[in-house]
Symmetry: C3
Amino acid sequence: MPLVRIDLDRALFERKEEISDEVQQAFVDALGVVENDRFQIFHPHDSGEIVFDPTYNNVDRRSLILLQITMVHMYSPEAKRRLFEEIVRRLETLGLRHEDILISAVEVGYEDWYAGR
Amino acid sequence: MPLVRIDLDRALFERKEEISDEVQQAFVDALGVVENDRFQIFHPHDSGEIVFDPTYNNVDRRSLILLQITMVHMYSPEAKRRLFEEIVRRLETLGLRHEDILISAVEVGYEDWYAGR
Amino acid sequence: MPLVRIDLDRALFERKEEISDEVQQAFVDALGVVENDRFQIFHPHDSGEIVFDPTYNNVDRRSLILLQITMVHMYSPEAKRRLFEEIVRRLETLGLRHEDILISAVEVGYEDWYAGR
């Protein structure tokens, strides 16, 4: 039951379906998540709402897309790294730059969810 | 000091006052939260921003309302389950379907808050 | 790599640059965060989207700005308290009232981030 909140520029939101599919497929491929276990919330942002410094840590950022994942605490650091790299690799196939991607995961328990029943 | 971020369709946002009241009363009834300890952020969403698969886990989802709760780590799994079920029960009295409700809780410490003083 | 999600009234969003700068400087001064390590997402809200009770805990709230911080678990409760107080002190210099500020921190691991590489 990963939940992904995606903050991105409004212009990029036009490609939401491709982004949604690639992000979901990354969960399937990297973590074995069930294909139709997809819960994503998109926040398209207008100018000035997404703030970043283009020079931090010697990464050449020109834009920023944030994926904030809430997921059950059950994966190793290596598995999470594989997930992040698979998300990035897939978003790059859409033309996004890895420098412009920020991913944040927050882990919770099994008992911290209600999903329709 | 529970904080509830509520993502929902813009059409449903018209009923925000009822939703707000029922969610808050669920915290009062299930966890003994003080009645006026109410902090909620509504995100009304346009078409395409809330993404889910209507078939996951054999739940007949037609729409999705997400309640993401940030709360102090002080409740048992049973207490959280009571909270979730009370939220769902109360939202059902407004005509929402339990299948369409997704709840996610994130627990933090007492020291992770500043609330006006 | 603190990430700060800021929910505020749309009218106050006009002062986003000052708010952004003061919040970032609080991280620098209170925690020694690197100056250009700035990631902030603003959510300007229309009427009725930010819900609070003006009487809770004897704090005279008239408005509400929420800062929800995702940060690595590496700071003591005292350090976090210094951060919160520095954020509040700096926002007060912009004319915001401390009563109207709500801060929530969520801690994660180093391995829970991907930041452009």
